[in-house]
């Protein structure tokens, strides 16, 4: 069941060199990431182009993006923040807090029981 894991870089040198900083980055692991209208991957450098391609079929959580890009979460989090600042990507922050806890739990329970 476990897929063979290929060796990965820790933090790619080009990304370390880009000096992305984490101040006030709002991206969390479950933040939903999607592509802004009319953005195309052409003209972007990898891994930004890979990310835009990945998201063309619809939004994904930041953590899921990291798995697909084979990059550590800490890298993808900053990459997403950078692309949001550039207007390439949009994020939807976890709206869980907006919903009463009991209502959320009931939604989860009824969904699980119906499977």
């Amino acid at each position: 069941m476990t897929p063979a894991r290929r060796p990965r870089r820790v933090v790619p040198h080009f990304m370390a060199a880009a000096g992305l900083a984490a101040d006030h980055v709002g991206v969390q692991r479950t933040t939903l990431v999607h592509v802004a209208a009319e953005v195309v991957a052409d003209g972007l450098d990898p891994p930004a182009s890979h990310l835009v391609n990945l998201l063309e079929r619809g939004p994904l959580a930041a953590y899921e993006c990291a798995a697909h890009l084979h990059l550590p979460y800490c890298v993808v989090r900053l990459l997403v923040a950078d692309l949001v600042a550039a207007g390439t990507l949009l994020t939807r922050d976890p709206p869980a807090a907006e919903m009463p806890r009991r209502e959320l739990l009931e939604l989860v329970l009824s969904g699980l029981r119906a499977l």
């Binding site: 069941m1 476990t2 897929p3 894991r5 990965r8 820790v10 933090v11 990304m15 370390a16 060199a17 880009a18 000096g19 992305l20 900083a21 984490a22 980055v25 969390q28 692991r29 479950t30 939903l32 999607h34 079929r57 619809g58 939004p59 994904l60 959580a61 953590y63 899921e64 990291a66 798995a67 697909h68 990059l71 550590p72 979460y73 800490c74 890298v75 989090r77 900053l78 939807r92 976890p94 709206p95 869980a96 919903m99 806890r101 009991r102 959320l104 739990l105 009931e106 939604l107 989860v108 329970l109 009824s110 969904g111 699980l112 029981r113 119906a114 499977l115």
Partner: protein, 191 residues
């Protein structure tokens, strides 16, 4: 692999719900995330400094000063909500990663193996320190000794309200049953 044919993308308005499945190495975390997930289970790498701090600034990070750990990741879309399943190792040396990873989590399913119960103490310590609701799922392996529930509760020093369930992590229905026990418990403990 997954229990549900769905493998599309989450809806933009689905409420994300984080559930952590935690336990020592070899206890069945990857198996369980795979049994529950609608997508083939993934893993995402977390980077920590050698001192155990989370990396959030990429400059100055070299391979010498960092250590990585892979977290299982799965997704299960339900009407109105999307469950994100994080399969996380429970070593206390990952305490800072833990604190960050479990932030905002609904709760934690702690996996335990009756052949080596004590291996789950670290993760229970992390979960309790983080103030999270949890349930314990005992994974039955072919050569597991069959301890009665009350003995296991005593060995694990469980609060009477904390659910203790048996699970076959390979079986989606069994894995879902364990999640349901966890979520029911969280609901019961609401003020």
């Amino acid at each position: 692999m997954g229990s549900v044919p769905y493998s599309g993308r989450p809806g933009i308005d689905d409420v994300p719900v984080k559930i952590v499945i935690a336990g020592p190495f070899g206890v069945g975390k990857t198996t369980m995330v795979g049994a529950l997930s609608e997508i083939p289970p993934l893993n995402t790498e977390e980077v920590l400094t050698e001192a155990g701090a989370l990396v959030d600034d990429l400059s100055g990070v070299s391979e010498k000063t960092t250590t990585t750990t892979a977290i299982d990741f799965g997704r299960l879309t339900l009407p109105g909500v999307v469950l994100y399943l994080f399969g996380a190792p429970g070593q206390t040396r990952y305490r800072l990663l833990w604190q960050d990873l479990v932030r905002g989590a609904l709760g934690v399913l702690v996996l335990a193996d009756t052949r080596r119960i004590a291996d789950s103490y670290d993760v229970m310590d992390l979960v309790e320190t983080a103030g999270l609701r949890y349930a314990v799922a005992v994974n039955d392996f072919p050569d597991s000794p069959d301890h009665p529930g009350d003995v296991l509760r005593k060995v694990l020093d469980l609060d009477p309200a904390t659910p203790l369930v048996r699970v076959d992590a390979r079986d989606p229905a069994s894995a879902r049953g364990a999640l349901i026990a966890l979520v029911e418990h969280i609901e019961e403990m609401l003020p």
